[in-house]
Amino acid sequence: MSFINDPITFLAEWITQFLGGFLPEAWVTFIVTLLGVIITASFGLVFVIFLIWLERKIAARFQDRLGPNRAGPFGLLQTFADIVKLITKEDVIPEKADKLTFNIAPILSVVAVLLIWAVVPFAPGWIGTDLNVGVLYIAAVGSFGILSILMAGWSSNNKYALLGAFRAVAQLISYEVPMLVTLMVPVLLARSMGMMTMVESQDLWFIFLAPISAIIFLVSSIAEVGRTPFDLIEAESEIVAGYHTEYTGMKFGLFFAAEFLHAFTIGVLFAIFFLGGWRGPGAEQFRLLGVVYLMLKGLLGYFVVMWVRSTLPRIRIDHMLAFNWKFLTPLSLALLVMTAILDKVFGDTALRFPVLLAGNGSVLLVTWLALRWTSRRHTKERRVFKKRPVAKPA
């Protein structure tokens, strides 16, 4: 194992040997694990500083602006300036707030996103820890995010924050249903919940075997992050700023950092589940290349999220929930059933790819026909005008 092929394992072995000289073995294991944790966790956090700059730059380009360009070259230091600003702001805790819950909520929201990175496979052999229930772990960690929103909204002692929290939670739990059901498709195709196995079994990227599932996953993930067009969580015109109305300074900043990090994390998860993770030419020999591939694929997913964000307007809450329950959830269930049966029958044959693709196509066709049929019926209903109340002078 040379340094160029696998620098992290090389360094880890070197540190183990170095510490093993004068420390008992249990301590060495502990320190190496601790270092691993710190590297994995700070990777996400350091990356988010760069991402905030990137997001602002790209969003500006979409809107025909320049974006941050004063602090540092290309405005690269803008985020640091923002962090300094947020830290030096006064931290106001409202008198009537439930203090402990109020303070824990923003921390919990960052922790919930950061915890996902513990099971992200960066390259062959480079993974925080390869849990055998990795996929379900990701889903479970997400529930802490929901909890943090509920805690923030309730503890603020503010009608609009509570209302915003309730709406947000209704949105998040609704979109978690199609997400969980679609996550079962890659698990089914990989026959494992381990993240490493998931990537290793993608000789053919799963996006080719389950294209519609991939799209459903991306859409429901965008809703989970609460990005436009699903940003009802902070619909300024309707519920002030939503659940974090009462937060100031760094605590407000933590909610935002969590959102940015989450947006990129779903890009990475999309890459792992459907785009083959770190797989690419030469990634087996030079592991650093695997990380580069993963980040590029993750940035691709992230770019799509930003693209959607700058293109679509916010949708109304009833439309959003109807879209989830009456379109995404039935579709994902149908896809799961279709994939399970076809993969069992044709899984080991050469026909796996064409048959699954044909199955996806037919599901798409049936959905399209059903949609056409219902929308025609709806337009007919709408043609019959209802009597509107007429404004009269008092």
């Binding site: 008198e95 960052v110 820890t129 603020s156 309730f166 089914l188 950092a257 009456k326 039935p330 269930l333």
Partner: protein
């Protein structure tokens, strides 16, 4: 097996320290001049009217209910998906039956109009 979870345990601790650091730092750097008006609830920029505990509509509960049912479903179906290779076609169809019964849940709610927001 337990090694993996020790990693997760340390990860939780470290992940809690990271967001805690800037907050603690802000304690030392940021000004602290509280006064009653500043500590008042912001709400929507107006003075608070009435009770914070507004009555919520039951629809929130209904969505949570449907979500709960599908959440439990995953507890049953994820192991089924993991063991997929070893299952005969018959066992796969049992899992499909399970999914169809749950789809029945969704259809029932749909038909009863329980999925409507208003």
């Amino acid at each position: 097996m337990l090694d993996h979870w020790i990693f997760i345990g340390i990860f939780i601790a470290i992940a809690a320290v990271f967001p805690l650091l800037p907050i603690v730092l802000a304690r030392f750097v940021a000004p602290r001049k509280p006064n009653p008006i500043k500590l008042d609830t912001y709400e929507c920029g107006m003075e608070t009217v009435g009770d914070t505990w507004v009555q919520f509509k039951v629809q929130y509960y209904i969505y949570a209910l449907v979500f709960l049912v599908f959440d439990i479903e995953t507890a049953f179906l994820f192991p089924w998906a993991v063991a997929f290779d070893a299952l005969p076609l018959f066992a796969v169809l049992e899992g499909v039956l399970f999914i169809l019964i749950l789809a029945g849940c969704l259809l029932y709610c749909w038909g009863k109009g329980a999925l409507e927001w208003s």
